[in-house]
Symmetry: C2
Subunit: 230 residues, 2 copies
């Protein structure tokens, strides 16, 4: 894929005029990472945003005196690091490559200039941020209900991301119990117990390194994913 096509595929540059894409093409820098590489480090200044062109990354955060908490996985063509760039703050999270990953890096000054010259790009960004807020509200509510709702919410979200990204077998989620504990802040005992219950109910099947979703409609209902929007 040409760099111009990579930009065109990014939700940030979707349906924007060609001159905005060409301006971005001149200033982005491509970087590649191997699985396990750290792409962004928590608490460092946020000087650039990253368009994920290929691959999957994990966004996680360590808080004072607490375990690592996984906030999200982001699939290509996704966007990371934009909040620190907008707020001129530090990175609130660490981003690690889960697979071989290619990104296009866009420095704050270039990004600001493109946003100010091309309101369509800024409009896309605002829409992406608004969608993220809605998803986080859903997540706060599902997580507040019970472990079953939290798990169903996380699983359906990952499934949807994998489906949209064109991943093979999007319903087979590569998650260990440890991964799930870090994602929903629950103990190993609780996660194992609730997974066994959902397995018995025919909602999913669990192996030590994966969760296969069997009844996605029922899981969506459980995770409140049909009450989305705003």
């Amino acid at each position: 894929m040409s760099r111009l096509d990579q930009l065109r595929a990014s939700p940030l540059f979707r349906n924007v005029p060609l001159d905005a894409l060409q301006e971005a093409e001149k200033v982005v820098t491509s970087r590649t990472y191997r699985a396990g590489d750290v792409i962004l480090e928590q608490d460092e200044p946020g000087e650039a945003l990253y368009l994920i062109v290929d691959g999957v990354v994990r966004v996680s955060r360590v808080s004072l005196g607490s375990r690592e908490r996984v906030l999200a996985d982001v699939y290509a063509p996704g966007l990371i690091g934009e909040t620190a760039v907008l707020s001129r703050g530090e990175r609130s999270a660490t981003v690690t490559a889960l697979s071989a990953t290619t990104i296009l890096m866009l420095y704050r000054d270039h990004f600001s200039r493109i946003l100010r010259r091309h309101p369509d790009v800024l409009w896309n960004l605002a829409t992406l941020l608004a969608d993220r807020i809605t998803q986080q509200n859903d997540e706060l509510i599902a997580f507040g209900l019970n472990t079953e709702a939290a798990l169903a919410h996380v699983f359906c979200g990952l499934y949807e991301q994998r489906r949209v990204a064109g991943t093979l077998q999007p319903e087979v989620l590569p998650l260990s119990t440890q991964d799930i504990m870090q994602r929903i802040s629950a103990s190993r005992e609780t996660v194992s117990r609730v997974l066994r219950k959902m397995d018995r109910q025919g909602l999913l099947r669990v192996t030590p390194s994966s969760v296969t979703l069997l009844d996605i409609t029922a899981l969506q209902r459980l995770g409140l994913d049909d009450t989305d929007s705003d």
Copy 2:
């Protein structure tokens, strides 16, 4: 305050050129509500956004088969309803006036036109949305830790909003146990037990209708509010 000054005080129109303010001035509609009035209703189409000029509102949501969940209180000069307008979706939450409230209503079409003609306004909006995402991430992490962190996070957030809004005695939060249960999705027993513990530790003092914060620095540490940004 003139309407132009009301607009100027809104975070959406902060530091934007006069012509953007004047354009908005021509198209906004003022409305007033009494305490208890419903301003926006969940699941209705989101056709306008609301600038809160005076007063305090509560944002809450009812999910399938679950109790009402309070997502946030918003103080003047705040903004509500912008995510549904950007995503062209339905309202994901109900907004109720907690006090006498004055708002300026801005319809989607007018809002889009202003955003496209005045990138400064769109930039402000993107920054507001990015800050909201950061706050929600903090909240997800605090809520995932334990009830004490969740309570400290909610209390410090409200204190900060009240302080910025110039509310008298910002440290005296008008919250009942019921209010708190709806905010953090915990049982009455858990909320009461943890509040008593925090009261004994000298962090706060509880009455049936209020929580007075006594040691805000310690509460901020407990609620992880010093690990903010991005």
